[in-house]
């Protein structure tokens, strides 16, 4: 098992050697079962049809900049939620419940790409894919294939971020130690890491201001 590929310029390698899973012997049984299942047994695809699977994979790779292996199995985690009906329940008036909205918006990605370049979204080049996503993100209340663009963007990013940042490999990348029961924390306060926490190796290289400059 290795860390997720992410260049240092994009925030990779800031917590060298930090591995949340090293702490798993200190987790309670119920938590261990839930968290390790995400790592050890990526579930098979049950909700998305084949084309939807390919579209969703392309969408999630773009939203989360996953370009190589290993990957957090975002597609599989989202598919499992939709297959099990594990949604948040609510939906916007005029928007379909999440499972239908997912199918419809993935199909719309294909329609949008074909209308532009003649090829499907999955087959389009990365720049064309990004341009489509940017249009949805910037669309606000405008209609995008039958839904307000902002609701579509919210649907995609909510599911994508929830899946990605539920995974221990993503926690390694952001310095988050994961489950904390029954161990807890004892060093509270600014700049007071626990023995098992790894401080940021480049605290002076504020990636935020670097991002703002680029």
């Amino acid at each position: 098992m290795s860390s997720l590929p992410l260049s240092p310029a994009d925030g990779g390698g800031r917590y060298p050697g930090f591995r949340t899973l090293d702490q798993s012997p200190h987790w309670d049984a119920a938590t261990t079962e839930v968290v390790l299942a995400r790592v050890e047994h990526p579930p098979g695809i049950r909700f998305f049809a084949a084309r939807e699977q390919a579209l969703a994979q392309a969408l999630f790779d773009l939203l989360l900049a996953q370009t190589g292996e290993p990957r957090v199995p975002v597609l599989e985690l989202v598919d499992a939620r939709l297959a099990d009906g594990e949604t948040d329940g609510w939906h916007y008036d005029g928007m379909d419940p999440d499972p239908q909205a997912w199918r419809a918006t993935l199909a719309a990605l294909d329609d949008e790409a074909r209308a532009g370049s003649g090829s499907g979204f999955v087959e389009a080049d990365a720049d064309a894919q990004r341009a489509i996503l940017q249009r949805v993100q910037a669309g606000g209340q405008d209609d995008w294939h039958g839904y307000p663009a902002s609701h579509v963007w919210s649907l995609w990013t909510r599911y994508a971020c929830t899946a990605f940042y539920s995974h221990p490999w993503a926690w390694d990348e952001i310095g988050f130690p994961g489950p904390a029961y029954p161990r807890g924390y004892k060093n509270l306060g600014v700049d007071r890491p626990e023995p098992f926490e790894v401080p940021d190796a480049h605290p002076a290289e504020d990636p935020v201001s670097r991002g703002a400059r680029s």
């Binding site: 925030g11 008036d93 940042y165 890491p193 990636p207």
Partner: protein
Amino acid sequence: MTSVRDRNESAWLLPPHPGQNHQLRADMRRFADDDEIDIAIVGCGAGGSTLVQRLARRGWRAVAFDAGPFWDPERDWVSDEAGSHHLYWTEPRVIAGDDPVPLGSNNSGRGVGGSMVHYAGYTPRFHPSDFRTHTADGVGADWPLSYSDLKPFYEDIEAELPVAGEPWPWGDPHSYPHRPHPVSGNGELFLRGARACGITAKVGPVAIANGRFGNRPHCIYRGFCLQGCKVNAKASPLITHIPDALAHGAEVRADSMVSRIGFDERTGRATGVHYLRNGTEHFQRARMVAVAGYSIETPRLLLNSRSARFPDGMCNDFDQVGRYLMVQGAPQTAGRFDAEVRMFKAPPPEVSTEDFYETDPTKPYKRGFSIQTVSPLPITWAEHVAAQGHWGTDLRRYMSDYPHWACLGALCEFLPLEGNRVTLAEETDRHGLPVARFSYSQCDNDRQLMDAAQGVMERILRAAGADEVITIKRFAHLVGGARMAADERHGVVDRNCRSFAVPNLLITDGSVLPTQGSANPALTIMAVAARAAASLANREEE
């Protein structure tokens, strides 16, 4: 005042370690559907649990229903964000209006303990001014009761949770039964920034025992308060009121969704509750019914309880059911520090200020806001970052900076508006019952408060040394929807939570609140339910 243990033994009925008293649950009294019990209570959250504990102590034969499970924290809860999805009410609902309010994870509970299972743990009192905003400021509504009517119940509940915090200088100044908790990096920066701005900030008030309380263990500062406290340190009715209720002969009937309130056209009285359990419909007979399903499900249940007498829903003669529902504007502002804050360590609720709570005559808006520490875990933090428009490598880069951020949240007093309400949608749930449609639109005053609160949070974080601040606009909490009022043309229940239309029907949850202040509502909901219980028991037993 009697000692806490003499009036509520819950903390001593739990085992002397994390976990539940399994024997107490196994020995729980069970009533038959045909028994006419004294009261059927719908919902086992802040309001319903307090009511059932109080009435069981007075010898009432009471059953408290909940649509969700009777949690065993050791087995059912996890120290993990995504794995805690089952704590929320995720049955279908439709959200609408100019400013639709997402539900689910943030503001809706499920199972015994209700939303207090996953609330942060802040338990401030309302200020005396909250009970008369219409008279004082020409906005909102006056309650049919005053702060002093509620004060003794605030004191009782604060001792039972118990609440930890510094002596409180705002509203009606008071102290707390437990000393304030030590603070983490996030709380430290809030205190530092506030001091530099001349703003008073205090540690607390948090319903987490500081030290052992009864058999409940000390907080371990693991930061997962919003995922359910496996430690039993943070108060929720599951551990603060239900154990004592069971010990006094109450029944908790979990996994039982009440679908309709029974009604006798001849007598005009409620007769019990229809409920669904394991796919089968049952009817529990009861002498009285109390609804405590919170601001969405309480109106929905009333609207779904139709009869010849109530063709538009029970207690809805004057089209009041579901109206004046409120959320609080809850913008969340984060600041970036070169030092490591690691805000995920320690409970998210730590420090608050109520300096901006009251109407400031120099400002163009009425009423105000409070500011508190919030400490989002990675998924919630990603939502905050993504709201800035970041995705792809930008998102990953921002997220890698997580230990450097501190985060504050405001609670803005949105005003009760007639059109903000629950109605029934055409869509039905898996039981075939129409689901709630919740419509919300802000008024100008609401928007001005959101902007003002954001400005103050940015000021505090910059004064503490933040070199960048980012904000996400969001909402928190629900109250109103079946409010108390002086008469039936302005509300659904009276000052004692008794419905105007049906003499043996009460509503004892957050939906009865006519205004919300900028306080987290849990403590007030419990105090209102405790007061309703006292008034009900005294009257019935006269």
